[in-house]
Amino acid sequence: MGQFLQQLINGLTIGSFYALIALGYTMVYGVLKLINFAHGDLFMLGAYVGLVTLMGLVVNMGMSASLLVLLAIFLIVMVVIALVGIVLERVAYRPLYRAGRLPPVVSALGAAIFIQNAVMLLYGARYRTYPEEFKAIVPEVIWTVGGARISLMQVVMLAIAFVLMAGLYIFVQYTRVGTAMRAVSLDHDIARLMGIDVYRIIALVFIIGPALGAAGGVMVGLFYGRIYFTLGWGYGLKAFTAAILGGIGNIPGAMIGGLLLGVIEALATGFVSDAWKNAIAFVVLILILIWRPTGLLGERVVEKL
């Protein structure tokens, strides 16, 4: 029981990283039917910008590490990566919207390679570690609950992820612009007839998605303490998988898919072996997709004639 609870909590923590990244894939797919292959690298860039911000605020400017500083770091990183997201959309995707479905995908791959190599040139190809000072931000407090060890770090990560996801859900589900975003993902032309500026909605998606992914990047950096320039591939692939698992294009689906994938992986690690976690996670994914080809929440409602 203790083991199960432990893996469940570990899984939810990792799963919340996947979920935050998966949202970016699913939102862009929703409005553009485009797989933004550069998204994983925006997440990675977020982890690096997080490191730089942390160094700047805590190490260089000597700000005492506190929860406030932590929130400031998240905010700065999210804003910076949102700006990168806007630029990416303007430069790499928008000129290609009239060129069909495939050219933007190729452009996305190019952007991914570009971001990765830029980070490698700037920060080197070796691991970078988050400085010791960051430990003061979230003290190493560990509780034992029902035989499982839960760290304060995990609780903070889960809380931030939960707040971000709840905020997004409320925005998309209950606001005028959020509803417009869902309308755009259903039909661009009809959305235009309603007076919705589709390009502005797309730009908004390229603000929100990368910002959430970047928050995930900071979390991974803080949680594991070290980052590397190819971080985006592995996590990007997992998060993309999570998005499909939940039903690509479906926002709550990405959240559930991410958390579920994290939990499956953690349970596989705990009860089988770490070496088998990916194999088991993907077998489960395949089984779920055989059972529900559109993903867990990707229900197709048919328009009647």
């Binding site: 309603m194 409602v301 328009e303 004639l305």
Partner: protein
């Protein structure tokens, strides 16, 4: 000078010359119908008016302002809205959310939106009963009501309806057309595209017959109903 005027409109889909010089006038307060066979250019005409297609030549004038360079999402702010062919309701959104999207151009003007909603629910009480239902689960007739209701939420001066009778049982067609007349009596000008020429001409003040991208005939509804060519081609003899 009408509310809406098209002057020698030429629209292309790639290399296909879809509209070959369409000119027509819709006066304020009228019901005008465009009839014609599949592929005659009826829907393209509406798409050109609403800015979804750019005419390569010619002018679209609404309230004497040229609108053929105005982006599609700004057309509704000028006072034109559309219930598109095949209804195209936002299938995964609720009825209420669909109506809210129809009122998107009103911004956060809650009072105006609420007033329009009441007006739409008065025309289509069925929509009020189903306001929390997912639009994709409505029947075809209800989806058509929603498509028209959604277009009315913007408080248009000109309402364009693309094949509202498509796929509906005759009883429902009758009800929908009765409602269209009611909407018109409330002061909304209507441009109606229909394949069902008889029903459309009985409702409309005047009509245009489209054939392969050009206007073949024009006249008052009575003139067209009596025209032997219209009788032979569109009214089943």
């Amino acid at each position: 000078m009408g509310l809406l005027e098209l002057r020698d409109i030429h629209t292309y889909y790639g290399h296909v010359h879809a509209l070959k010089g369409i000119s027509l006038t819709v006066e304020a307060g009228e019901i005008v119908t465009l009839i014609g066979a599949n592929g005659a250019g009826k829907t393209t005409t509406l798409r050109t008016i609403s800015g979804l297609e750019r005419p390569r030549q010619g002018q679209v004038l609404f309230e004497e302002q040229e609108t053929n360079r105005v982006p599609a999402h700004e057309i509704v702010y000028r006072g034109i809205s559309q219930a598109p062919e095949g209804r195209k309701v936002f299938a995964t959104l609720t009825v209420q959310e669909n109506l809210n999207m129809g009122a998107y151009s009103l911004g956060n003007d809650k009072e105006a939106i609420e007033e329009n909603r009441r007006r739409v629910f008065k025309l289509f009480p069925r929509l009020e009963e189903r306001k929390r239902q997912i639009a994709g689960t409505l029947s075809g007739g209800e989806q058509q009501m929603l498509a028209i209701g959604r277009a009315l939420m913007a408080r248009p001066k000109l309402l364009m309806l693309d094949e509202p009778s498509l796929g509906l049982a005759p009883m429902l067609v009758k009800a929908i057309f009765q409602t269209i007349r009611e909407i018109n009596e409330q002061g909304v000008t209507i441009l109606l595209v229909e394949q069902n020429a008889r029903v459309a001409l009985r409702l409309a003040d005047k009509g245009y017959v489209l054939e392969t991208g050009a206007i073949a005939l024009a006249g008052t509804s009575q003139e067209l109903l009596d025209d032997p060519r219209v009788k032979a081609a569109y009214l089943g003899g």
